[in-house]
Amino acid sequence: MASQISLLMENQPGALSRVIGLFSQRGYNIDSLSVAPTQDPTLSRLTMTTSESTEVIQQILKQLYKLIDVVMVQDLKASESISLEMALIKVSNKSEVISKIEKNYSSLEFNELDNKDEKTILRLIGDTFNLENLLVELEDYLIEVTRTGALGMTLGNVSLETEEETKVIY
């Protein structure tokens, strides 16, 4: 089962390469990665999934937090957070694909975005597990697939925020 890590980092050139570099430098594996600015334009939020062990994830969290550009890190526990991702798929036989989704994957949302030359783009939104199973099942129909990677957020009062105190020296 993949674990999710969410972090806030300075929205600056070079910050993302430090985060990604850490993974290759220390030999950690990333399954998926998603990053974009937040409501605060100085901060970007990044969500990653990894299948590393609990011990390794503890190390990853500490190593990430040690990066100067990383402002806050959070381990998104499955029971206390939501996780979903979006995929765009281009398929050749729309009606069969849609019937398969409706039959076995009712938890996935889908929309038809475009229909040209009988090749249709569908937008799928849902949890990674079901999405990946569906993609296996649709193998014969898929022309193209692109996925956002998982996004995650904790439920309720716990939020990924910058620490209140900022460090002032001298």
């Binding site: 430098q25 190390q59 620490e163 460090k167 020296i169």
Partner: protein, 579 residues
């Protein structure tokens, strides 16, 4: 009152002066020329011209290790930057506060494969604590301030500032203000430890029968040597230092069982193997210490004090982790032990065991008196002669290999910051340039560079720098005519197949070489001449002396941990082992 307007190059140097930097090591080139012009126009920051950028960073590193203050190197773009990389990686692995300023091609040329362009931010990224690419001339003062703050605080480390040439354009001027305050988001610096954990640590000592205090480079970085010594005296158990931690606890104190690890003493490694409590302060359970982690300290409870939480539970899981500054945590420990008292007699049986180990296979610190009919010099004897001559007070830098281990084993460092070597990265070529940094910091002190004929040739060009600035370093060259440590491994694990460890007859005449740079060279071939030559070298206060000592080419470094084994599995000599 408004400040005068100055250009980016002047601002950079002025910011260094405002950061109390009076000495930088470097090498000029196209992209750094505006900065070098700024250096020329002032006299607060002195620039030392080295002969290779690697040496500039090592010199700044040696300066930092000896003084505890940040070292600074200045290099140009492209090859200047790439030559600095080995120096930066060396400082990174040993957590040394060094700020490296690199010139860069002008902003609009970045990415165009311009002349002398290299992606310094990218190349240095995995080996820096942080790095900055200057985006505007106006931000230079605040970038400098942040760089020094980051390099020196918490667990120290190198910081790179990459400065595109147009940022230092002499014609672009702005109002200079050196920031008094600095706001940084989420940059926690650990202070005191948790009081309950401090109390728990002391309880673990009370419950232990066979404890050991294992201290590393972090203790020295935190300037916590005095506190470590005081705490160790209150507890009264064996103390061992890592290669990086030598001098944090006095090496000539009976409570000290020597260095531990790969080439640690028999008694230190036995103490670690049999201990029921391992108290780690400022060390990181490095692979040269633990040997096989799955066989490490199986019977011991473990306490780990570190200013970097990511060091805790990284290799060895611990029972009690105290995150904090070593100096403050040790002060808390001392306070609590003093308040409650501590009965050291509970370790009496443990000490009898330790003394028996020491007696059985401890290092012989009296090898100068060995009977020696052939008059051959053993490398250990050279270190003992150096120790006697300098009374254990010298700053000793080293390169990497057998000579480094002999120096670590036999020079009984009494004080912190006096043993300066590349422990983590293991950089040959570190010894001479780092000795230059030390000598600039402490012109009156004895500074010895213990090296080998292999390592010294990796930065030998710095003999010229030493001549230019009059640096009377004593180079003690343990010349065994081969890459000794490699040869030792080839003896032990490759059936004596000596692959690429010999220079055949192509070694330089080091005496003539030294003389050609205006220094003094002395060659020693007989043990009976060693002490006199050593004394003569150190008596020449104003001269760099290259003491080329021909040592036994067949000597190995022992003890040596057996690969994949526990800490008690050691080779003690060519034909004796513990397993």
């Amino acid at each position: 009152m408004s400040n005068e307007e100055i250009n980016g190059g002047d601002a950079l140097i002025r910011a260094l002066a405002d950061e109390n930097i009076d000495l930088i090591f470097g090498y000029p080139g196209g992209a750094a020329l505006h900065i070098y012009d700024a250096i020329y126009k002032q006299n607060k920051v002195q620039h030392i011209l080295v002969r290779h950028e690697q040496a500039a960073v090592h010199a700044a590193d040696g300066y930092a290790r000896a003084t505890g203050k940040p070292g600074v190197a200045l290099v140009t773009s492209g090859p200047g930057a790439t030559n600095a990389i080995t120096g930066i990686a060396t400082a990174y692995m040993d957590s040394i506060p060094v700020v490296v300023i690199s010139g860069q091609v002008a902003s609009h040329l970045i990415g165009s494969d311009a002349f002398q362009e290299t992606d310094m931010m990218g190349i240095s990224r995995p080996i820096v604590k942080h790095s900055f690419l200057v985006q505007s001339a106006e931000e230079i003062p605040v970038v400098i301030k942040k760089a020094f703050h980051i390099a020196t605080s918490g667990r120290p480390g190198p910081v790179v500032i990459d400065v595109p040439k147009n940022m230092t354009d002499p014609n672009y001027k702005f109002e200079y203000n050196y920031p008094k305050d600095l706001v940084m988001r989420s940059f926690p610096i650990l202070g005191k430890g948790n009081d309950e954990k401090i109390a728990a640590a002391i309880e673990l000592f009370r419950a232990a029968k066979k404890p050991v205090i294992y201290s590393g480079g972090g203790t020295i970085q935190a300037d916590a040597s005095k506190e470590l010594t005081e705490f160790s005296k209150l507890i009264g158990c064996p103390v061992t230092n890592t290669l990086m931690g030598l001098g944090a606890f006095p090496g000539n104190d009976n409570q000290f069982v020597g260095m531990l690890g790969m080439h640690g003493t028999y008694e230190a490694n036995m103490v670690m193997s049999e201990a029921d409590l391992i108290f780690n302060v400022g060390a990181r359970f490095d692979d040269r210490i633990t040997n096989n982690p799955s066989k490490f300290g199986l019977a011991a409870k473990k306490i780990h004090i570190d200013s970097d939480p990511s060091s805790i539970d990284k290799i060895i899981g611990v029972d009690l982790a105290i995150e904090g500054d070593a100096k403050l945590v040790m002060q808390q420990l001392i306070e609590q032990v003093k308040a409650s008292g501590f009965d050291q007699t509970i370790y009496k049986d443990w000490w009898s065991k330790v003394e028996a180990w020491r007696k059985a296979h401890g290092l012989n610190h009296d090898m100068l008196n060995l009977k020696n009919e052939k008059d051959i010099i053993l490398p250990q004897q050279v270190i003992q002669s150096l120790y006697q001559t300098t009374k254990g007070d010298a700053y000793v830098t080293s390169d990497v290999g057998q000579h480094q281990m002999f120096a670590a084993q036999y020079y009984k460092f009494k004080d912190p910051r006096k043993w300066i070597n590349s422990g983590g990265l293991g950089t040959m070529g570190f010894g001479l340039p780092s000795a230059m940094g030390v000598k600039f910091a402490f012109p009156e002190a004895d500074v010895a560079c213990v090296t080998g004929e292999g390592s010294i040739q990796m930065c030998i060009q710095e003999l010229s720098t030493c001549g230019q600035y009059g640096l009377p370093i004593k180079i003690v060259n343990l010349n065994n005519r081969a890459l000794g440590m490699v040869k030792q491994w080839q003896d032990m694990q490759y059936g004596g197949r000596y692959s690429s460890i010999s220079y055949e007859d192509s070694l330089p005449d080091f005496v003539k070489l030294a003389e050609s740079f205006g220094h003094v060279g002395i060659k020693v071939e007989k043990l009976s001449e060693l002490n006199d030559a050593m004394k003569e070298s150190f008596a020449m206060k104003d001269k760099l002396v290259f003491l080329d000592v021909l040592v036994d080419p067949d000597e190995h470094v022992y003890p040596m941990l057996e690969a994949g084994g526990s800490m008690s599995e050691m080779r003690l000599s060519k034909d004796k082992k513990t397993f």
